[in-house]
Symmetry: C2
């Protein structure tokens, strides 16, 4: 039996040690690039990549460059996201563009993205690597195409009149779930998993990714600032079309809808206005609906793991299950 | 004997046909991403990649995904550059952020970058590819790390009190020459070139890259708007520490230095002020100095090709030489 907390801590420490050894010039660019990385983070994607890799018997040596890759890639998306959303804080610290300016923040994201592929590809090249190393790299590049598409959708939804739940699901699949899917896929493919297992583990990654984003949407309204590191009610302030907001607008009658709409995309209102809108959304039963939806995806994820059966090493399959439950329990 | 113009046109057409088949959603993201690509461009990097690849006997099928990759990568750097420099025009059309806004332009660059690696890696993966395909992909990722560093240096130099010619050379190596080096390296490695030839072809790419940027610096002050597609005197307006400007500031006596300094980084002066500064720089002999420096690097590039000797197919080695001469002759 592998202990989840110990495992997460071990993977985080491997990834941190490796990433913080990365050096380059000019200093300011590298400092800006690792600013958010150093401010914390759960290292969830590396943990998924390792757990999946070990479930299929991968060697740890091959997993590390890819684990660093997915984490740096994730950090790249955070840096560019913060510019696009004009956010001031992330993980309780000022965002990169607030500290270093927009141009340097754009470059920092570009550098992180470059490193996220350069590190795995250098490993593959050095090892005169086989097909699986290439396929793992391809999947990361696939995720990067998909995430850019998801971000564009997310941005366009902010201006859209109405967004259906189906459109929302496609957006969060691309924006969030694709990278979690890629993380477990990469681990599995490096471990030698075959087509059927790759499909099942991808389903697992996709499902927990969707659950993850729905929980994020709940925390985007009901999360505590000291836990999430973001301002309270941030999704209301930014007028994001999250599951909660689009659902609430869909089912609310006129008066309640007006209460919600009156705060969306407004950054400068009194706190009471946002909390009233949050209360209205809660009265409509929307957070409970979202939570049950997230739990549904977790159950789908577990089901996919169960179908892997004997092809996966059970202690790591159990770990992947625990990670799935963690996703819906998290408060930040 | 391969005709240079026909060759450039053929490669451009292969790359354009392939790149314009790329599809994805949302439409707005893909339109924004291919806006500058469609506005023109010499497709110099694909031509270098093909010429080098064919010189070492690569199969054209393997060269195409990488040629598309280097061109999309180049376009990505243009899109993000224009945001950082706050430029309004490129290739005679409005820049991406002017048309689509900064957030969409950031994402467009990110998408182009993603595609630039996803396309070659998909090819390598599909072909159950060998080591050379991986090494070619690694080199492109290496160039992307290096270009980000070069861009950061370029940006920091704008604010720097003084920049030495040595610092300038390092910056343009990273910002511009690294991708040209990568383009010929990728062709050669796919063609089966060995260590010694890879070094020589890299030297060639690096040398023409340096010459290319120095000529760019000349055009950045003395180029014609209808040829370059950029506003006249753009480097003066932006206060860029180009070779011409840093050299002029270094050798000018007080009065002339003041004339130059008075326009640097000022976007709103009368045209006469910039043309006076340009005239002063010319009187100092700086453009002639820069041109001779560019020609020196072209001669170094030719020398590297000559050392390749019989290991390269001569009609394509000749083509690479012609491309080197083209770099210093170009007016846009």
């Amino acid at each position: 039996m592998v202990d989840l907390n110990e495992f997460m801590a071990r993977v985080a420490s491997l990834v941190n040690d490796s990433a913080l050894q990365i050096e380059g010039k000019p200093d300011e660019l590298y400092e800006a690039s690792f600013h958010i990385f150093k401010a914390g983070g759960k290292r969830l994607r590396p943990a998924l990549l390792y757990a999946s890799g070990l479930a299929f018997g991968a060697e740890e040596e091959a997993l590390l460059p890819f684990a660093v890759g997915v984490e740096l890639f994730h950090n790249f998306t955070l840096v560019h996201d913060d510019i696009m959303d004009n956010d001031d804080y992330r993980r309780g610290v000022p965002t990169v563009h607030k500290l270093y300016g927009v141009p340097m923040a754009i470059l920092s994201g570009d550098l992180l993205f470059s490193l996220s592929l350069h590190i795995p590809l250098s490993y593959c090249s050095e090892k005169k690597s086989n097909y699986r190393c290439v396929e793992a790299s391809r999947k990361l590049a696939w995720a990067s195409v998909t995430v850019a598409e998801g971000q564009a959708l997310d941005m366009m939804f902010e201006k859209a009149e109405s967004v259906t739940e189906e459109q929302y699901m496609e957006m969060i699949y691309k924006k969030t779930a694709a990278l979690l899917e890629a993380s477990v896929y990469i681990g599995a493919v490096l471990g030698g998993a075959e087509k059927r297992e790759l499909e099942l583990i991808s389903n697992y990654g996709r499902s927990i990714g969707l659950a993850f984003q729905i929980i994020d949407d709940i925390l985007g309204i009901y999360g505590k600032e000291e836990e999430t590191g973001k301002p309270v009610y941030s999704d209301l302030r930014e007028g994001k079309k999250t599951l909660l907001i689009l659902k609430a607008l869909q089912i609310a009658e006129e008066e309640k809808r007006k209460t919600i709409e009156s705060v969306l995309g407004r950054k400068d209102l009194e706190r009471e206005k946002y909390s009233e809108a949050a209360r209205v959304i809660e009265e409509l039963g929307v957070p409970a609906y979202a939570r049950s939806k997230a739990e549904y995806f977790v159950s789908k994820a577990i089901e996919s793991l169960d179908h892997i059966g004997e092809k996966g090493r059970q202690e790591y399959i159990s770990l992947l299950k625990e990670i799935a439950y963690l996703v819906v329990k998290r408060r930040k």
